[in-house]
């Protein structure tokens, strides 16, 4: 994947990872709660890039993307998503497939509700956006760093590899780096996820007529798989799949299996 930079009309500066065949159909990946992590290739995006031209924009407040102060509410985040797609030239006739994970899934679903015809196909991987009183999502804004590893990953070794600063034996400096990065990214995410990650997407989902796949990790301890059933109930036309051997960080824990599901759905 190569790195490029995009300046949106709103004024955000966005880092975009891009790869895959130049003439391949476009696919946009919106990352999850802890951002785009440095994975050993081939990762999830590399697998998708075998067939698709993949674009993975980093949300302001995450990593090297800036302008998070410009995003304050759900509409800002959704329109920011469209600003990025416009900046990448991904509008008709180059309609992209949109794949969103975690918070990225929530944003992808909101974007699609605004303009269902502008997305070729939609994939939601362990998305935020819905809330069930009987299955409350843990208060991850009150997690200590090491708890991110515990809740996000099924495999503790993957947590250690990918979230070094958060794990138990981390040195103080990487703990500090993790903490500062977390303050920015979860500070940003908090604008649409705090204190309850529910911005009433459910009342807009009637607009989501795009062909949709919902994939859930069997061992997601952050947003339990029972939420997949709720998505199915609200999106009767969607396909819903559950994958074993992963927690919330499904794209990093089962990159090949997830990519296979996604590619099979996108065709």
């Amino acid at each position: 994947m190569i790195e490029r930079w995009l300046h949106t009309g709103r004024g955000a500066r966005v880092r975009v990872l891009e790869g895959g065949p130049a003439d391949g159909p476009p696919l946009v990946f919106l990352h999850g709660l802890v951002g785009l992590l440095d994975d050993t290739p081939p990762g999830f995006l590399d697998h998708l890039a075998e067939r698709y031209r993949v674009y993975a924009p980093e949300l302001p407040g995450y990593g090297d993307s800036h302008g998070e102060q410009l995003l304050e509410d759900m509409l800002d985040f959704s329109l920011h998503g469209w600003d990025v797609l416009d900046g990448l030239g991904l509008n008709s006739p180059r309609r992209p497939a949109l794949v969103g994970h975690s918070i990225g899934g929530m944003i992808a679903a909101e974007m699609t509700c605004l303009a269902p015809g502008a997305i070729a196909k939609l994939v939601l991987v362990d998305p935020f956006g819905l809330w069930l009183d009987e299955h409350p999502i843990p208060d991850f804004f009150a997690f200590l760093p090491f708890e991110f590893g515990d809740y996000l990953f099924d495999d503790a070794r993957r947590a250690t590899e990918l979230l070094a600063g958060a794990t138990q034996l981390a040195d103080p400096e990487s703990l500090r780096q993790f903490f500062i990065a977390n303050a920015r990214r979860l500070g940003t995410a908090g604008k649409i996820l705090f204190p309850i990650p529910n911005r009433r997407l459910s009342k807009r989902l009637y607009r989501l007529t795009t062909e949709t796949l919902v994939v859930w990790a069997e061992h997601d301890r952050l947003i339990p798989p029972v939420y997949a059933q709720h998505w199915q109930a609200l999106l009767p036309h969607a396909q819903v799949k559950c994958l074993p051997g992963a927690g919330h960080m499904l794209p990093y824990e089962q990159p090949r299996a997830l990519a296979a599901e996604v590619l099979a759905f996108l065709g």
């Binding site: 997690f143 703990l175 908090g190 309850i196």
Partner: protein, 413 residues
């Protein structure tokens, strides 16, 4: 020097195994630990003590706002302050304060503070805390990254509402009001003295300095640990070209006075240890929701409390440790005088919030402590800033001619 008698209003019946059994004294402490019948007596005891402090000659009596908190039973300090406005007639009523980002709309604070100022005859000291993350974010659901912005807007609304003599429209991001029209309005002009309780956020220093508000460092870590932070504050005061009046700053200190040093330990140790070992058992997870603190402030903070191994360790506070470390100023009047002088000089403060009731301290001991401090310590500290003795910019300006509430019921008791 000004001295305010301050009561946090802790719940005095936390169980002995509180720390082992419960995660936090704040936010998720189950309210089955609260007994409203006992609470009835607790509130009245604490309010009696505040009134007693007024009679003893303290300059101010102080209350503050906390939510879902086992050591702070005042979700609405204004309710307590309202009773004090009727039952006392002399001291300042220091509400430190109302978390203005939590009131919807924040004009409510302008109105209630105006009521308190009018009822008390101009004795209100108005505190505007940004609010702890526990209260503001976890208990009251404000989005961490937007808290400061919302606070700034609420502050602007309240100050404009107090200053205006005609209705105006307020088109804010968080609050929109077509008709802002504060009835009543405060007695004190241009407004009651404003105190900003802070805990080390660098942004708050400049806010206080620029508006000429008092910066109140409310810490339970004592004056020795506070030196670095207060030095940073005074550096900002100098950098912004303001005078160095000690009345620009206040500090909260736990104090325990007895006839001798040994008596102080014998009388108060149990209660002060109750406070440090139970009341301050706050889950570290609630201290720092991402986005609440700016990256600049985080860079200046120790993070060891966030490591997994730290969670399993707890060093029980000891009397010796607390006294040697300056968290608590305790001893004979002579000892306390010396250490208070040291506090006042090293932190350069013109106002001390005196925490003379601590933890589950009994009423009798609290009154003993408060009386000894008022008679044996306070008079010796009054003139510590002779060059600033007439600087009343951060103090109340009550009406000279104030109404005394009718005492009809008191006569029948």
């Amino acid at each position: 020097m000004k001295f305010t008698w301050f009561n946090l209003m802790p719940w005095p019946y936390l169980p002995d195994d509180f720390r082992q059994t419960y995660r936090s004294v704040w936010v998720d402490i189950p309210n089955r630990l609260y007994d409203p019948v006992r609470g009835h007596a607790v509130y009245h005891e604490y309010m009696d003590q505040l009134e007693y402090a007024d009679a003893l000659g303290y300059d101010g009596i102080g209350v503050n706002e906390h939510h879902q908190n086992g050591y702070g039973l005042m979700p609405s300090p204004n309710i307590i302050a309202a009773t004090l406005a009727r039952r006392t007639s002399r001291s300042a009523i220091c509400v430190i304060g109302n978390s203005i980002a939590l009131y919807n709309p924040p004009i409510r604070v302008a109105e209630e503070f105006a009521m308190l100022d009018v009822i008390s005859g101009g004795r209100l000291v108005a505190g505007f805390p940004v609010g702890t993350p526990m209260d503001t974010n976890f208990c009251y659901g404000q989005i961490p990254a937007l808290t400061r912005d919302k606070y700034a807007e609420a502050h602007e609304l309240i100050m404009r509402a107090w200053a205006a003599e005609e209705p105006f429209a307020f088109d804010g991001k968080y609050t929109q009001l077509r008709w802002v029209n504060c009835w009543p309005k405060p007695i004190q002009k241009p407004h009651p003295p404003i105190y900003i309780p802070g805990g080390g956020s660098v942004e708050t220093y400049d806010f206080c300095v620029d508006h000429d508000y008092n910066y109140s460092y409310l810490s339970f870590n004592g004056y020795l640990a506070a030196k670095t932070l207060m030095d940073s504050y005074w550096e900002r005061v100098a950098a912004r070209g303001k005078d160095e009046s000690p009345h620009r700053a206040a500090f909260a200190q736990i104090i325990a006075v007895a006839d001798t040093d040994a008596d102080a330990e014998r009388l108060y140790s149990e209660h002060i240890l109750y406070f440090y070992n139970r009341c301050l058992h706050i889950a570290p997870a609630f201290l720092d929701p991402p986005g609440y603190r700016t990256v600049d402030t985080i860079k200046a903070t120790s993070l060891t409390r966030l490591q997994r191994q730290t969670q399993r360790e707890f060093r029980e506070a000891t009397w010796k440790g607390l006294v040697d470390g300056g968290m608590v100023i305790a001893g004979s009047p002579q000892t306390v005088r010396q250490r208070m002088e040291e506090l006042i000089k090293t932190l350069h403060v013109g106002h001390v919030f005196c925490l003379l009731h601590t933890g589950n301290q009994t009423d009798e001991k609290t009154r003993h402590n408060s009386r000894l401090f008022a008679t044996e310590v306070m008079p010796h500290l009054r003139q510590m800033w002779p060059e600033w003795a007439n600087d009343d910019r951060w103090w109340i300006h009550p009406l000279a001619d104030r109404v005394t509430p009718e005492a009809s019921l008191a006569g029948q008791r």
